[in-house]
Amino acid sequence: SQQGEEDPQALSIQEGENATMNCSYKTSINNLQWYRQNSGRGLVHLILIRSNEREKHSGRLRVTLDTSKKSSSLLITASRAADTASYFCVNEAGSARQLTFGSGTQLTVLP
């Protein structure tokens, strides 16, 4: 089963706007991670939020975690054209098998 499912599947915004992506997961959680993938490239780790944290910031990124709803959100503020990429969440529930990615959110930032 997929341990991270992102929505929306696609998001298109203007440069300078904020982008919000959501992630839902099914089981218990150790930590939840967000990754970014530029077209045709490998995945790059963005941010990790632990199960006992509710919010975390890193530069223009803000991640929230609601364990009661089994959901997380990634906010990118003041978006740039270079933020155009696919974004994936992964729920690390302690098992390698569960390090499974969803289909991701394809973000397009228009200049």
């Binding site: 991670q33 490239r41 995945l43 994936f88 098992s95 390090l99 969803g102 289909s103």
Partner: protein
């Protein structure tokens, strides 16, 4: 090297042929993962190594797929009797820690095309 290295970056082969894909993880990383990614999809888990042993191979689709990591560093994913449906990008990732404890470092992938 500084990151995870995968070779070849592109491989075109004919149906029925044998293929090997190589992954050189970050030095000292004990955990190594193989994923497969089809167009428009997220990476699909294949196999996980902790050291030299395959700790979890439950994602391998069938017995045509096999992976080794004989010295606990470089890993090779082997695909026998390739089929057109095997065409995908094969991603390797490594981590200094066991699953559930930290980020994965991905290579750029090996794009396999089976004609």
């Amino acid at each position: 090297g500084a990151g995870v290295s995968q070779t070849p970056s592109n491989k075109v082969t004919e149906k029925g042929k044998y293929v090997e894909l190589r992954c050189d993880p970050i030095s000292g990383h004990t955990a190594l993962y193989w994923y497969r990614q089809s167009l428009g999809q997220g990476p699909e888990f294949l196999i996980y190594f902790q050291g030299t042993g395959a700790a979890d191979d439950s994602g391998l689709p069938n017995d045509r797929f096999f992976a080794v990591r004989p010295e606990g560093s470089v890993s090779t994913l082997k695909i026998q009797r390739t089929e057109r449906g095997d065409s995908a990008v094969y991603l390797c990732a490594s981590s200094p820690r066991a699953p559930g404890t930290g980020e994965l470092f991905f290579g750029e992938g090996s794009r396999l095309t089976v004609l």
